[in-house]
């Protein structure tokens, strides 16, 4: 199939992009790397009247260190590609976590074009960034007609393919705090074959300097399940008690006995074991 006809604009600023989206009254779509929107348009599952290509907006490119609230942070521009992160062409605050996640996204050809902001805006619950950013405790910066706002990544997904992003808003970037030298992380993804979307994702991020131990059950039907204080769960899993995960799995919407419950539990166990190995 071929895409239905559409107009194309390539604004130079966020303000201009937001104005174009607002003028589209719901029929304009922002374009990042096009790795999801492109196929959807070719299948005519998406038929926007116009595309607003964000890739010429300087502010959305690259990555810079800043500080908010006395904490050292890094802002990753929305148009940063997965390959940029995989290859370390950015200032990594995550002690290797983000590059590892990026390297596991789809195939290199997709990573060369696909962008962090695009993936977040697409909001596929089985995609990597919506899950990785949630467990990382990142903030997502958004610009709209009313100005700029920040959304915690843990609350980004309202549902499958439904981000906390209005039709006339764009993702500017993702802000992460600098992780301490003592920080440790794990990320376990289960999929049918290399490059496919995940059937289960589990992750832990532990940073004693920030008094943080967060867990995640992801690749669900809806938003990821973030476990804000995962100390008890992590200890129990590492002590060889997989049943300790059951309450969180049920809370994540995975009924006991189901295939999904089994594989997410196994993924959690392995994520916990990875972290133990990292200790």
């Amino acid at each position: 199939m071929k895409a239905a006809a559409f107009d194309y604009a390539r604004p130079a600023s966020g303000d201009e992009a937001v104005a174009l989206l607002a003028a589209g009254t719901g029929m304009a779509k922002a374009l990042g790397g096009g790795q999801s929107l492109g196929p959807m348009m070719n299948l005519r599952l998406a038929q926007p009247d116009s595309l607003v290509d964000l890739r010429a907006i300087a502010e959305l490119r690259g990555c810079r260190r800043d500080g908010t609230g006395g904490m050292e942070t890094v802002l990753i521009g929305a148009c940063t590609t997965h390959a940029d992160i995989e290859d370390g062409r950015f200032d990594d605050p995550s002690r290797g976590f983000l590059p590892r996640v990026a390297a596991g996204i789809a195939y290199r050809a997709v990573r060369n074009r696909g962008t962090v902001g695009g993936s977040l805006a697409h909001a596929d619950p089985a995609a990597d960034w919506v899950n990785a950013m949630a467990v990382a405790g990142a903030d997502i910066l958004v610009q709209g007609p009313a100005g700029r706002r920040t959304v915690a990544a843990a609350g980004w997904l309202q549902g499958a393919f439904t981000p906390a992003l209005a039709e006339d808003e764009i993702v500017l970037g993702v802000r992460l705090a600098q992780w301490s030298a003592a920080a440790r992380w794990s990320y376990y993804k289960f999929n049918r074959k290399t490059g496919e979307f995940a059937e289960a994702i589990a992750a832990f991020v532990v940073d004693p300097a920030r008094d943080l131990c967060r867990g995640l059950i992801g690749a669900l039907d809806g938003p990821p399940h973030v476990i804000a204080d995962a100390r008890g769960l992590l200890a129990a899993l590492q002590a060889g008690d997989p049943a300790a995960a059951d309450a969180e799995l049920v809370a994540a919407g995975l009924p006991p006995g189901s295939y999904e419950h089994h594989i997410h539990r196994a993924a959690l166990q392995r994520a916990a074991a990875q972290l133990k190995g990292n200790a």
Binding site: K2, K193, I263, Q269
Partner: protein
């Protein structure tokens, strides 16, 4: 004085020559249907049914675009595609090229829309309104057989294209058999996935008075016959050209309604018209294959010797009987090949080819043999368990022995040659069975479970007239034609009616010419795929081309050589009996004449020819038939080691061995390529590929994100070992092996997974073996046994 004779390079039979065609393929210079551009060319998009089963009440063409939309009512005089079988009881049907009053599958074409480009054609297609009365869909093949099912073809009274029955009295067997095993097995409906989809460009050539159809096809002459028949044209008015074809696998051996529609429209409009299939059309509407169901029982004595096999096999044939192989290709073959390479006293098998509201099932590499191998090899493992034997031992006790060759098996298949037990022995040795059993006893540090699985089978290929005529399908293969022609400068043109879509025929046919004539293969041009310049052939299918066309090239080259010798001897002023043929030249003590010297003489210096020269010149047209046309039987044993992650249900292939006997190998590298590619497809059958349908007949995968194919990371480095037992009935002893790789892998992998899971009390009896299947089976067992063991 003659120039010195060139050095003879080894380019003949048995040499692993790099392929001639790879120069263009590796540089991205292949020429496919999608590369064709013509002035004024229009694009077609089809309106396809969104419902699996329904009556069409009305079709409304969009206002203002009426002239760009065609329905069956517009296609005056176009005949439906008919592929009936002459087998007793076969129920006839017809597939209209666009739907008439009824649709019988999602994706069935209802209207054809044409525009300046595909996107514009799709815009029009999206505005065509079709009013349906939806009917209950027939989705499951076993339910379709039951009385009271909705009917795909109401006039039949049931949903059975064909029922076959090979009867035997098993009473005595039942009473004496110490071992009885029964399994219910299911293989998924799959969708073939050649890298290039189907595609057609058609136009009417006024000078030639001919419809020229470029189409991605493996049997272009059959497409020509089919298109001419549907359009009511003389075959002389139709030329079909299949240029480079990016994978066929059986899918391109079918006449598609799309081809007929586009050809008709090109004539109607007087302009070139194009349709290129996209992956969604291929997955959801067209390239379906493989869906089998088995209820199989095997009887054996206490030593594991097979006494009898009793089977009920059902094949989901889909909505229509596709041209030319018909809707009973799979099931009827199941009945005749289920016994595999084994001996048994009795055999009983009933098969059903069942109509459902799904796309027609098409032949896919392995055709029936893949499912059959899975069924028989599953019960062989079950017998081994009952008998307390290693799986290889029970097979060894039942294989046809080399001293029994040639062997007529219980269904009168004529196994031509080979040493099946030796093949099995080599595979078991190569995989290292004792060390694997020890490893299984030790267990894995990561908690995964190791399993080893075997499958041994034989593959009938290049079977001819005597096998097919009884089927009564529209196409019966006969003698295989080939035409040779020398150019004045000594280049040999080979024109053959088979095609090449990954098989390397441009190389292997040239190697055969080299074998006979000593001609350098860069002086051989192999011309294929064009009905205008090649002799009529049923084409490339059934692992037949290297046997049939390869032998034909050999026979024709020998005849050409005789003519060359006669002229060459005359030019050397010697008797034909006094000269020899060496390195592509006629040689006598007085000198030599190369092929080019003789060709130049024939065309440009005829005054030098002998007075009694053969008037047929340097062009040879001949045909070939094997000394026995019951087919070659290549055979192979696949041995696989898997690691099963029981917590996630994921299977990794740790080692994979294929021991293969394809008779005399023309080009061992090409054969290896065939085995690798086939095995990759078999891995897909075993572990990944599955076109599921909803209860109302909607296909549940429409992109390759939902329909999972194995990729580079899922296919291990396969170790291949060859045996070379010459075929007794073919020109060079070669056998067909094109499908082999795809036949053995699902059975071997399934047996390996079940070997790994058996200590946990689990056996998976469906393909593909998905993580879900494994996890749910283990969960069911642990629920029953009170969760006694830890899976991870």
């Amino acid at each position: 004085m003659n120039a010195p004779l060139p050095e003879t390079r080894a380019q003949g039979i048995g040499v692993a020559l790099p392929r001639k065609e790879d120069d263009r393929f590796m540089r991205g210079r292949g020429g496919y249907v999608g590369n064709i551009r013509m002035v004024g060319m229009l694009d077609v998009a089809f309106v396809r049914s969104p419902v699996a089963h329904g009556r069409i009440r009305a079709i409304e063409k969009p206002e203002g675009s009426e002239g760009a939309v065609y329905t069956l009512a517009d296609l005056e005089g176009v005949q439906p595609i008919v592929a009936n079988s002459g087998l007793a009881g076969f129920k006839n049907s017809a597939q209209p090229v666009l739907a008439g009053d009824k649709v019988r599958q999602v994706g069935e074409m209802i209207a054809m829309c044409v525009a300046e480009n595909r996107a514009a054609a799709e815009d029009i297609a999206a505005q065509v309104f079709v009013d349906f009365d939806e009917l209950p869909a027939v989705v499951d093949m076993l339910a379709a057989r039951r009385a009271g099912s909705a009917l795909v073809h109401e006039e039949w009274g049931d949903n059975v294209f064909l029922e076959t029955f090979i009867d035997a009295d098993l009473d005595d067997i039942r009473s004496k058999a110490a071992i009885k095993v029964r399994r219910k097995l299911r293989t998924a409906r799959q969708s073939m996935a050649p890298m290039e989809g189907r595609g057609v460009v058609a136009h009417w050539d006024h000078r030639l008075g001919q419809l020229i159809v470029y189409t991605s096809a493996q049997m272009p002459h059959i497409n020509r016959t089919g298109i001419a028949g549907c359009l009511g044209l003389d075959e002389g008015q139709v030329r079909v050209v299949a240029p480079d074809v990016g994978g066929g696998f059986g899918y391109k051996g079918i006449l598609l309604p799309e081809e007929v529609c586009v050809a008709w429209l090109a004539i109607k409009l007087g302009r070139p018209v194009r349709w290129l299939e996209d992956r969604r059309e291929q997955l959801t509407a067209n390239a379906n294959c493989r869906e089998h169901d088995y209820d199989i029982t095997a009887y054996a004595d206490s030593d594991g010797r097979l006494l009898a096999v009793d089977c009920e096999a059902t094949v989901d044939s889909g909505a229509y009987s596709s041209y030319p192989f018909s809707a009973c290709l799979e099931a009827a073959q199941v009945g005749s090949i289920l016994p595999g390479p084994y001996k048994m006293e009795k055999y009983r098998c009933r098969t059903w080819s069942v109509a459902t509201n799904k796309p027609p099932i098409l032949p896919y590499r392995g055709v029936a043999r893949t499912g059959v191998c899975y069924a028989i090899e599953t019960v062989m493992d079950a017998i081994a368990v009952q008998a307390g034997l290693e799986p290889w031992e029970v097979r060894m006790r039942n294989l046809v022995l080399p001293q029994e060759m040639p062997y007529d098996n219980i269904t009168r298949k004529h196994f031509d040659s080979g040493d099946y037990p030796e093949c099995l022995r080599r595979a078991v040795q190569a995989i290292g069975l004792p060390a694997l059993r020890e490893r299984q006893r030790r267990g894995e540090a990561d908690g995964r479970r190791i399993g080893v699985g075997l499958a041994i089978f034989c593959e009938q290929g290049a079977h001819g007239t005597s096998v097919y005529h009884g089927w009564g399908i529209p196409m019966v293969p006969g003698r295989e034609p080939v035409t040779l022609r020398l150019t004045p400068d000594g280049v040999l043109e080979i024109r053959a009616g088979v095609h090449s879509h990954g098989q390397g025929m441009e190389t292997t046919l040239a190697q055969i010419a080299h074998e006979v004539l000593g001609i350098a293969i860069d002086k051989v041009r192999v011309l294929l795929g064009d009905t205008g310049i090649t002799p009529y052939s049923t084409g490339t299918w059934g692992s037949r081309s290297i046997v049939m066309a390869g032998s034909a090239v050999g026979v024709a080259c020998k005849e050409l050589k005789e003519r060359l010798i006669k002229i060459g001897a005359h030019l050397l002023k010697d008797e034909p009996a006094m000269v020899t043929w060496q390195a592509g030249a006629v040689v006598s003590p007085k000198g030599w004449k190369r092929i080019a010297d003789i060709a130049r003489t024939w065309y440009l210096q005829p005054q030098l020819l002998p007075g009694d020269v053969d008037p047929r010149g340097l062009e040879v047209s001949t045909t070939y038939q094997a000394r026995r046309d019951s087919g070659t039987f290549s055979y192979a044993c696949h041995a696989v080691v898997v690691a099963v992650d029981t917590a996630l249900g994921k299977v990794e292939l740790l080692d994979y061995v294929v021991v293969e006997d394809g008779g005399v190998l023309i080009n061992p590298m090409v054969v290896d390529g065939q085995v690798y590619g086939g095995a990759a497809q078999g891995i897909g059958t075993a572990l990944y590929e599955e076109m599921r349908y909803s209860e109302d007949g909607q296909p549940l995968a429409s992109t390759l994100a939902d329909y999972i194919l194995p990729g580079a990371t899922e296919v291990p480095a396969i170790r291949i070992a060859h045996m070379e037992t010459p075929a007794p009935y073919t020109e060079f002893g070669q056998k067909g092996i094109g499908e082999s790789g795809a036949i053995g892998s699902p059975a071997a992998i399934a047996n390996a997974v079940n070997d790994a899971l058996r200590p946990l009390g689990v056996e998976i009896n469906q393909l593909p073996i998905t993580p879900r299947a494994i996890v749910e089976a283990l969960a069911a067992v642990s629920a029953v046994s009170g969760n006694q063991g830890r899976n991870a």
